[in-house]
């Protein structure tokens, strides 16, 4: 090629600068895809012209399986959807079953559910914080995030016996009561988390390189976010103040005082990667507030309501949405009067949030694709189900 160019009368520079489009296969085994996601990227030099995501590598037939197991047996399967927020998944499923069956949940159980759901939200956002920094080339924040998350995992281990998959919320209540020891652990964790949070910001949020990589990158307007069905921090990062815990309270959330942070374009444009990241950071502190209030005012009483031994739900259908760390998780449960559901559809936030990648990852730098994907914060276990 070079030989030929040297012989021709055309300037060499002109020929060698001709660009060709190149298809790059990113994943399924790529650290920044957070699991097994494959992106086919059409590049023109450093610019990405088109991104096509391929999913399904982690498909484990969740919806088919739920049609052959009873409702109570279905709860542990939900743990495995978004495995970084098992408590929240099981809570959403239990709320759906309880609504259709008309089962009452004791006040104490509802509050305990709030405590574990919020702790799990913090744990999930800590992973997001750590891995996002890792995606962008900073290793240290990952260690900080996992240090605080470890305390939450120990608390969950004492409560439920599990460190990743808890099976703690049960239909009609929760599995075990809060012991004074665990309550003390949670209070110690809150102190630790509040002390560590400013460190996080010094380390990453205000870091000049991090801000350069994320501010004004991957901007999603509020209208586009709604059109694509984004929820959770991705929606709020775009400036839309909507949080199911506030707007459609469930499981006693109306009893707690907390605020809903939204993206304000502090470092760049509203709805950029930094805004989505920052919403998660602020939510960590808001969750601490909720946990503290729940511990202070925890009502006394039963932790499990009365549910029949053989659970047969009446005919009907129900859709109950919950605010998971990544957005709206809803179970659309249809019963035809048997012990197993006729259909149980999981509407997961990661699946919907990921569907916007083709639109956002267009005419951006290759490195920005990683930044955008990390800021959307997906868990492939839930995308593929």
């Amino acid at each position: 090629m070079i030989h030929k160019e040297a012989q021709s009368s055309e300037p060499i520079l002109h020929d060698s600068l001709q660009s060709e489009e190149l298809l790059v296969n990113m994943g399924p085994q790529h650290p920044s895809t957070h699991g097994v996601l494959r992106l086919v990227v059409r590049t023109d030099g450093e610019m990405v012209r088109e991104t096509v995501p391929y999913i399904g590598y982690l498909h484990r037939c969740f919806e088919k399986i739920t049609e052959s197991v009873t409702y109570a047996q279905g709860v542990p399967y939900t743990d495995r959807l978004d495995y970084l927020a098992s408590m929240n998944n099981a809570l959403a499923f239990c709320l759906g079953v309880e609504k259709l069956g008309g089962f009452a949940v004791p006040e104490r159980a509802a509050w305990l559910r709030v405590i574990v759901a919020e702790l799990n939200r913090i744990a999930s956002h800590l992973i997001s914080f750590g891995t996002y920094a890792l995606d962008l080339g900073a290793f240290t924040p990952f260690l900080y995030g996992f240090r605080e998350r470890e305390a939450i995992l120990s608390i969950f281990e004492k409560l439920s016996g599990g460190r990743l998959l808890y099976h703690y919320p049960r239909i009609g209540g929760v599995r075990a009561d809060l012991t004074p020891e665990v309550a003390g652990d949670i209070r110690r964790f809150l102190v630790q988390m509040r002390k560590a949070w400013p460190e996080y910001n010094e380390l990453l949020s205000e870091n000049a390189i991090f801000v350069k990589r994320t501010a004004n990158v991957g901007v999603i307007s509020g209208a586009r976010a709604i059109a694509y069905g984004l929820t959770g921090p991705c929606l709020r990062g775009s400036g839309v103040r909507f949080d199911l815990r506030k707007n459609k309270p469930y499981s006693a959330y109306e009893r707690f005082d907390f605020s809903v942070p939204v993206g304000a374009g502090i470092k760049g444009a509203v709805g950029d990667c930094w805004d989505r990241y920052w919403v998660r950071m602020v939510e960590i502190m808001e969750s601490c507030k909720i946990v503290e209030q729940a511990l202070d005012g925890l009502p006394k009483g039963e932790i499990r309501g009365k549910t029949p031994r053989v659970l047969k739900l009446p005919k009907g259908q129900v859709y109950v949405p919950c605010e998971n760390p990544r957005g709206e998780l809803g179970f659309y449960i249809i019963s035809d009067g048997k012990t197993e559901p006729l259909r149980c559809k999981a509407r997961g936030p990661s699946f919907c949030n990921l569907s916007i990648t083709s639109e956002v990852c267009r005419d951006v730098l290759i490195a920005d694709v990683v930044a955008i994907l990390g800021s959307i914060d997906i868990v492939l276990g839930e995308v593929d189900r």
């Binding site: 999913i55 088919k64 059109a227 069905g229 005919k315 259908q317 035809d336 259909r343 569907s355 593929d384």
Partner: protein, 165 residues
């Protein structure tokens, strides 16, 4: 606006294409819509200033085969869950389709969010969404046979030499 008011509004405009209002004894209500009117109803729900359903929550498919007591168990349903941020109300639209020729207009042109949901309903239940910009399988490989969430689906014994047992 409650779903009953929305039903009355739709009934007034689309007449017979909208099903009766049978509030179920338990669970959430829904509005039945005939397949021919589905896309027009969806557009009306999105654009009417009093309704303004801007957020598509979910498109899902249901196979009623073998369900006890349903009027006709030999059918599929495509179910649309909508919510309005602007008006703070929600609606559920269900369309019944024959099992052997399940075709329905796509609403991906109205809400981009429908794109992936409809692909999944096609992949898992075999509903063909007409006018969809890119109707491919989404979770299963392209060369997979059958639609696994159908009640009469038989699991193949092997896939490219990989046993399924």
């Amino acid at each position: 606006m409650t779903m009953e008011t929305i039903h009355a509004l739709l009934r007034e405009r689309f007449g017979e294409a909208i099903g009766e209002w049978p509030p179920p004894e338990t669970g959430d209500p829904w509005i039945g819509v005939k397949a021919e009117a589905y896309h027009d109803v969806a557009r009306f729900l999105r654009d009417d200033p009093a309704l303004k359903f801007d957020y598509l929550r979910l498109v899902s498919a249901v196979d009623w085969m073998g369900s006890s007591g349903a009027e006709s168990a030999e059918r599929l349903s495509s179910v649309l869950h909508l919510y309005s941020f602007a008006r703070d109300h929600e609606v559920t639209i269900a369309v019944d389709l024959p099992r052997d020729a399940a075709r329905l207009a796509s609403v991906a042109d109205l809400w981009p969010a429908a794109n992936w949901h409809e692909r999944e309903a096609y992949d898992m239940m075999g509903i063909v969404y007409e006018g969809h910009p890119d109707l491919r399988r989404i979770l299963l490989p392209e060369d997979w046979e059958g639609h696994p969430l159908r009640k009469d689906y038989v699991q193949p014994e092997e896939y490219h030499g990989i046993p399924n047992v």
